[in-house]
Structures are given as structure tokens and as C-alpha cells.
Amino acid sequence: ETEFHAYRLHQYEISGNIYGCKNYRVSYEAVSLGARTLRRTMVTTWRDLLTTDVDDMWALSTGAVLIFIPDNLDELNDIDRKAFIDLEAKLLSAKTDLAVYVAPFNDDAVSILHDVNTRSEKAPTALQHLLQSLSGNTISITSSDQSPELPPSYKPLNIVGRLSSGDRAAPTIAFVAHYDTQSAVPGVSPGADSNGSGIVALLELLAVLSKFYDSPSTRPPYNILFIWTAAGKLNYQGTRHWIDEYQKGFDSADYAKSGLSRKGFSDDRVDLAICIEAIGRKTGGFFMHAGKTPSENSVAAQLLRRLKYFSSISPKKNIELVTKKISLTTVSAWEHEKFNIKRMPAITLSTLPSPSDPARNSILDLPSALDEDELIDNIRLIGEAVLGYILDLPESGPSSDSRVKSEATMLSKDAVDKQRVHHFIRQFASRPRPVGDQRATESITSNLASVAAGYGNVFKSAVTITDAKAFGVTQNRLVAERVKPAVFELVIAAGVFTYLSAFYYIATHSQNTIEGTVAAIRKSIF
């Protein structure tokens, strides 16, 4: 039998309604698409799944679905890519009790599929059918269920890096990015752009801006916070938690553990929270999402003007403002909405035009899809704009006098370092880290903390997930065994019987046959 790794369909629950597949145990016989799937495991390729209508299937109560998807998602050609996106959409919208698994398409898959398909085909002649039903082997798929459920006490961590300007009354700029990933199949999607690029942008900005905070003479009069929030895909739990803590003055116990003085930065006046999501794709510019068009001299408006100014210089980019009214009831579309709900100024910078863009939580969001140069340009653009704001440089370039010319950008060409970005992408944006996968989450939080500790001082705070629930078991080991039909056993028994009878026949005549041969040999040879 063969054993392979499979990734479960997403499962989470936000404010009551449940998404994705409920359970994860599989121990049913594999059956091909279209057959009755009650207490069966329906095995199919992603293309077949697309073409057939499966809505009624989702309604079934027990059973499982195993879908084989191409193992190298990078080299999908365009048509497949579009088809795959449709598949994703389908999977996202599915709500079922079945255990839905996705596995990469390799040679085991081929043999399994072959058996399953032959099994379910109608044999042309009755005899073959009989034969088939007698000796055709059926595949039974069982899940080994080693990875445990999510412990109730599991709380993902918020990582907060801080560059302090030294005096307490200085205003603060906060960079925010959620670090978890989500897609139809969270176990397989590294989420490189939808928010791997956010994490990398924050890390790179921390590295670049920390250089200014080393010596007192070049220390800008602003504190800068870098907040990597947890469970962003679960309606931005980390962000909500941080804001609650921030406004409550942090009397929660978790902070005491993290060795931070109780006050922490509750007296930091946050001028603007800049949420960064998905700025790693080659889209020639990005959008600034905000609740409403920012007023003339608000920080967001200034930042927008600076971004427009800098993007009008060397690498031509266009920056657009997109406003979307914030709904207090439904799930927040963008991270900044959590801030706006609590009357804190915030915006989100993203190449995604709308929150429901399919590319946002897609499995195809792979590191290879990232365009490193575009990401570096975006990071330098954001860095220039923010530096310009906190250093209060004249908005439209060093001098407005027509007669005066000078270079405009403060950061030197190699300030945003290509090698460092590549390192961050490889470490933080190339492995799936859904909130459900406790081990991956803990690994990324501890590594993020080690980077933040390197460049500034770091604080951690455990996030309590409210009115939402994440589910573990994002991946599982499936064992496919070839099972002969019970009746086949009789066949074997017959085989054994015939063999034994032949043996009996030989044994009984062995004595005289041997003597005969011996005698024959003696006569013939000697």
C-alpha cells in the first residue's frame, strides 16, 4: 500500500458561521467521482472536480474527498491557472462535514486513480464484470491522524518591534502586517504575497530605519512600531487584540511575562497605523485603502502626497486612493478597519485593488510569483515617504524654488538591501503558516522575535481569539491500501487447495518416480 501526505481543506469559524470541512478522519474505501460517496472517499483530480457539479456532494454527512492537484503549481500554464483559481473559488465556498483533502499528483496518485477508475467502470461483458468484482482490488484510504487537535489554551503571539526616539512625548508611526496565511487549503499555501511580502516589508523597514536610530544626532523625533499581528486571516484577531491592549494601557498579564514595564507604550500617540499587505507583485504601483478620504492635513493625506511625489520620480509607479465604507458588523475587509473602528487613523497599502481579490488568499500565492525588484522598489518608496514625513522634509522635494535643483531621495541606492530581502523572503514568506498550524506559527513568531530583537527592542503578547475559532489538523498522512474483495479470499483458498492437491499427488508418487528415475539414470549413464 502507499503512504502520502495530504492537506486538509480550510476550516474556521467566524462569528458563528463555519467555513470549510468539519472533520478530518478518513477510513473509507476510495471511489471515483460521480459514484455514491456516502461513507466513501471520493478520489478525483482537480480538473474532473471542476467539470462536475458537486454541490449535492458537500451536503453528505460522512465520507471524505481526496483531490489531486498538480504538485508543481509554479509551472501551471495560463488556462490551468485560471481553472485552478475557479477550483479555489469552489473550494472556498464549500461548507461540508466531509473530510476534504488535497494531495500533490505523483505516481502513487496515478496507481490509486487507475484502480479506483477501473473499479468503478462498467465492465463490457458480464464475465469480465464477474471477474472484476471477484478479483479487482479496491483502495481503502485511512488517515493516520498523528497531528493533534488545537489545544484550547493555544494563543498565537503578536510580535511588536519598537524603535524609540528617546523622549516619551514623541508621536508614533506604526507599521502593521499580519503574518499568518489562509487559503482554500492552508497547509499548502505559503501566502508569499498576501502577507509574506507584508512581513518582509516590515522587517526591511525595521532594518533600514534602525540605522537612523543608532546615533542620537540622526535619531528622528518619532517612535516607530513594527507590529506583526497573529491570526490576521481570522478577522484580524491580532490587530484587534493589540488595539485593545494599547487602549487599555496593557494591564493584561501576558505583558508582564514579556518583561516589559507595565506602562509599555500606552502613552505613545499613534499618528498613523500603516498596514501593509501584498506589495510583492509586479503591478506597477499600489493602492492606499482607507475608510474615508483623509482630510487635507491629516498624516495619511501627507503620506499619500509624498508617495505620489516620490513615485513620480525614478521608478514610475502610480499610487491610487481607494476608499471603502467600514461595516461594523461583518468581517473586516482590511486590517486598517480594525483601527478605524476604534477611532485610530490607519490605512492599508496593497497592490490588491479590492479585498475580495482572488489572488489574496490563493494557493498560487507562491514565492516564485513574487517580484523581488518590485517589492524592493515598493519598500524604498514607503521608506522614503515615511522618512520624509517623520523628518519633516519639505513635501515636494528639497526645494520648491525653480532655480534650485538637487537629488530628491534620502535613502541611498543600496539602503534597501537585495540580499537581505531575499533572505527574509526565504525565511518568512516561503512556508505555509496558517493560524491552525501551531508548530509553524510558533516557529515564525520566535524567528520574527529574533530579527526584531536584533534591530530594536521586541515585545510579545499572546492573542486571545474572540468570536472566531481556528481548527488544527491542516495536514495529515493518508495511507492508501489495495484491498481485494472478501470473495477474493475464496479464490486464493481454491488456489491453495489446488496447489496442495498437486503437491499431494507429487508426494504420493514421489517415491516410485524417484526410484524410477534413479534406476533410469543408473542404466543410462553408468
Binding site: 500500500e1 482490488n137 481503502s140 491500501e481 489495495r482 484491498v483 481485494k484 472478501a486 477474493f488 479470499e489 486464493i492 483458498a493 488456489g495 491453495v496 496447489y499 496442495l500 503437491f503 499431494y504 508426494a507 504420493t508 514421489s510 517415491q511 524417484i514 528415475t517 534413479v518 534406476a519 539414470i521 543408473r522 549413464i525 553408468f526
Partner: protein, 225 residues
């Protein structure tokens, strides 16, 4: 796949021994007890062999398969020959043929029980259906042939003048496991093809033993005349 499958395999593996015992006329000459002593003898020799191997091959836990150490290890099977010889000469009674057949039977039975019973118990009862268990059971019958011919040869070697004829075939029998392993590794024969080879090999040895036996028989009759 199921318990039924285990029964089948078990039968397949051990039935031949009973059949040979029951229906090839051996039971008139010697009792079941003789076979039991043969099995006991097998177990003792295996124990001795393991002790000796332990002294000569301390690091035995290697995974890789390399020709020379395997060959040396299988040379330990000579001890089987000695064991068999001792067993036949002074523990068994009756005519030569009876002795070596009974010895071979008992020895073979013990051998396949030692090697296969546990394997079958664990594997065959598993749900997944593979042909592997059936093949191992068939193996046991192939081994029966080899072991009987081994017994016959060990019997003859001390009694025939033309040792040079007997010893190569004896060597064939003794190094049979070594041959199987090398063949398995070099030609990567698996499953049914390996089984076929083993049958071919055992039948060949059986025939050769018969030929040699007949040659030996003519010599002894000539001696009697």
C-alpha cells in the same frame, strides 16, 4: 487483509510438509517423533550457528548488501550440514533414505516455521491485500525441496567415494540463501519473478541430487556385488 488470508497462507506454507510426511510413505518407516527430533536438531544447530556468527561478524547491523561479508556469513550454513549429519547419523534410525528424508522434513519444517510463521501472522492479517504473503508461503515449499536434497547430499557425502561429485551440489544447497540474496540485489528480482527463480533453483538442486544419488546408488550396488 483478513484472518482468512492468513489461514490460506498458513496452509500454503505448512501443508506441503504434512503432505510429504503423510503421503510419501515416510510415516511407515519412522514416527512423527523423529521429525520432532530433527526440528530440535535444527534449532540447536541454528543456536550454534548464531553463536559462531556472532564471534566472526561483530558488527552485524549493517544495512547495505555487499558480496564478501554476505558470502562469509552464508558459509556459516556449513554448520547446518554438520548438524544435519550428526542428526542423521546418531539420532535417526532406519534406512539411509528414510533418515535423510525425515531429517530433511523435520529440518525444513522447523526452518519455515522459524522464518515464516511470525511474518505471516503479522503481515497476512493486515487489511491491505498484497501478494507478498502468498509468495512467502510458496517459498516454503521451494525450501522444502532444497533442504531435503541438502539432507540427502549430507547423507551421501560420508558414504560415497566420489565426493568430488557430491560436494559441488552440496555447496549449491548450502549457499542457496546467498545465491537468492545476490540475485535479488544484482538483478533486483522481486515478487513473482523472485519466486519463480527460487522454484527453478530448488528443482535444479533436487534433480542434481537425484542424479548424484543415482550415481551413488550404482556405486554402492557395485560395491555390494
Amino acid at each position: 487483509m483478513s484472518f482468512f488470508h492468513f489461514i490460506n497462507c498458513f496452509a500454503l506454507a505448512f501443508a506441503p510438509y504434512f503432505i510429504v510426511y503423510k503421503y510419501s510413505g515416510i510415516n511407515e518407516y519412522s514416527s512423527i517423533w523423529k521429525c520432532a527430533t530433527a526440528s530440535g536438531g535444527y534449532l540447536l544447530t541454528q543456536l550454534a550457528k548464531l553463536l559462531i556468527i556472532a564471534t566472526f561478524f561483530p558488527a552485524l547491523d549493517s544495512e547495505g548488501f555487499s558480496i564478501v561479508p554476505e558470502f562469509l556469513k552464508s558459509s556459516a550454513d556449513i554448520i547446518d550440514v554438520i548438524g544435519l549429519h550428526l542428526l542423521m547419523t546418531n539420532f535417526l534410525a532406519g534406512k539411509g533414505e528414510v533418515r535423510f528424508v525425515v531429517g530433511g522434513l523435520g529440518w525444513g519444517f522447523a526452518h519455515s516455521v522459524a522464518h515464516r510463521l511470525v511474518l505471516l501472522w503479522v503481515g497476512a492479517r493486515g487489511t491491505a491485500f498484497t501478494w507478498r504473503w502468498v509468495q512467502t508461503s510458496l517459498d516454503s515449499s521451494a525450501d522444502l525441496l532444497v533442504i531435503v536434497s541438502l539432507a540427502c547430499l549430507t547423507w551421501m557425502i560420508t558414504r560415497t567415494p566420489n565426493k568430488f561429485l557430491v560436494s559441488p551440489i552440496l555447496a549449491m544447497c548450502v549457499f542457496s540463501t546467498f545465491v537468492y540474496q545476490t540475485v535479488q540485489h544484482t538483478f533486483s528480482l522481486y515478487g513473482w519473478s523472485l519466486l519463480a527463480f527460487r522454484f527453478a533453483y530448488s528443482i535444479a538442486t533436487a534433480i542434481l541430487t537425484v542424479v548424484v544419488y543415482s550415481a551413488n546408488r550404482t556405486a554402492s550396488t557395485r560395491k555390494n556385488e
